[in-house]
Amino acid sequence: MRKEPFAMFSRNRCLIALAWLALATSAAVAHDFGRTATAEEIRLWDIDVRPDGAGLPQGSGTVARGRQLFNMTCFACHGENGVGGIRDRLVGGIGSLASENPVRTVGSYWPYATTLFDYIRRAMPYFAPGSLSDDDTYALSAYILALNGIVAADAQLDRTSLLKLKMPNRDGFFTDPEFAALKWPQ
């Protein structure tokens, strides 16, 4: 089990560590380090959105609003309609994955729409990550999905409709045998 050698620590810490080694329980040391996180502060940082919808917030946005936002804040790097920019291409490539030059985009490659929402909200726009509201993130997701033909040009996206989407390459992945036994989203 736990057999790491410990280099230097005070007598108290040593006793605690020994208790931990002996009992391997959290109770022996939990009071000693850190503090309990409050629910509000966890909400501030708990930004991940998972394929089963966990973490997906309320709110909504239309393709039209997304187009407007994209042309203001994204197109400088990702190009008009998400193609031909100086950074990652966001559109196209469907049917190319088995070819000599696979084109991996949101449309051709990404297995989950939830990941698109998560990534845009956490990491984009590149110079101001975290600045987009949930409504605007839904709108931008809707626009990029519409450019890829995954939702209609007049679509509106919210928690329920985003979760219903099946991405074109949803079944295109298989798990490395080493980790296939661990649990997966269905």
Binding site: G34, N101, G130, L182
Partner: protein, 433 residues
Amino acid sequence: MKNPDRIGPPPQRDVQPSDQSDAGRASRRVFLASAGAGVVGLVAAGVASAESLADVPPRQLGAPLSARSERSEFVQLGRIPESTPGKRNVDPMDAINSKTPLQDLYGVITPSDLHYERSHSGIPSLDPALHRILLHGMSHKQLVLTVDDLKSMPSVSRIAFLECSGNGWENWKHADPGLTAQDLYGMVSTHEWTGVPLSYLVSLVGKSADSTWMLAEGGDASGMARSIPLTDEILSEAIVAYAQNGEPLRPAHGYPVRLLIPGFEGNMSVKWLRRLKFGDKPFMTRWETARYTSVMPDGRARQFHLRQDVNSLITSPSGMMAIKPGYHRISGLAWSGHGSIVKVEVSVDGGLHWRDAQLNTPVLPKAQARFQADWDWDGTPTKIVSRSTDEKGHVQPTRDALIGALGTNAVFHFNAQQTWSVDAQGAVRNVLA
């Protein structure tokens, strides 16, 4: 093809430290001719021209002592920033990684400032007094820790390699003959890392037994995040690290806190760590769906190929060096995410015949190992190549075998044997096999 019987005999004499440095001096002179496109690490013009001891400059009073040791003015070492396969020495603003000068280094420990670098949104400057680590999700306690909290916990130190899963990506489809070892494989390095065992933190918060995956998230602009499978192996070996090679982490390597998961692809060792969330499924972040997955020939993608497989390469002589006929000491690095390297073989006839290289001790699990072998080159064009075997019996594949299994579009996890050709003029070049 060269007659293998004419190759110098396997080392009869045991290599002593003095012997090594003699060989080093000899090869330094030989490699003076090397006009690499990248950084030329060995400058020894003074040595080469001092034919008589009378020509050696007299002793002189040296420079004053200082707060930090700098490198010799005769040594130039540097990483090479890269933006995508084939685009190196780019403006640092456009770089996504920066590669370690493997061919210029000795032993197995990478100097702190030369450990390879990869980030997704630049290097944040994080004040440790304001940095916090949140542990939450499927656990008994939800805790906020400070950096000082971590430093006052029991610590472990471990020497381990880190490797970007994109290492070697230049050679999937073709071999650019102008590439150095650094250009090709500079996204692997070895350090001593110090920090708190992940298992200690897991006990501290009382992780639920049902939690089999953990999200690790960085405090960089992109909030880089990966799902970590909580296998027994990872739980017992992962470190929440705050030091590298005896000093606090450098910003490029995750200051003030990073995750360190020996043996697994580098991007899982999330830098600038600020959140660990326990769950029962992978979280499916962009970095384990859109990126760091490998497209197979049939168009399907292999996901969660996390382990770095058995690997090696000859770093001297290597790409863009020039050698002369005569004695050479082949030297290189081998490593495996499965455990310790137990054997490295070298061939100096393009893989027809192999003999065991000498492994320098200690050989540590999931750390790079240094190998060396004697070689008398008779001046005939040939190819040199190494192949490693790890303690679990994995043997580094030929390029044909790797491509046969994965195709040429996988991008990640290239671990094929690296072949260097040597032409009649002694020019050493990257070739596919």
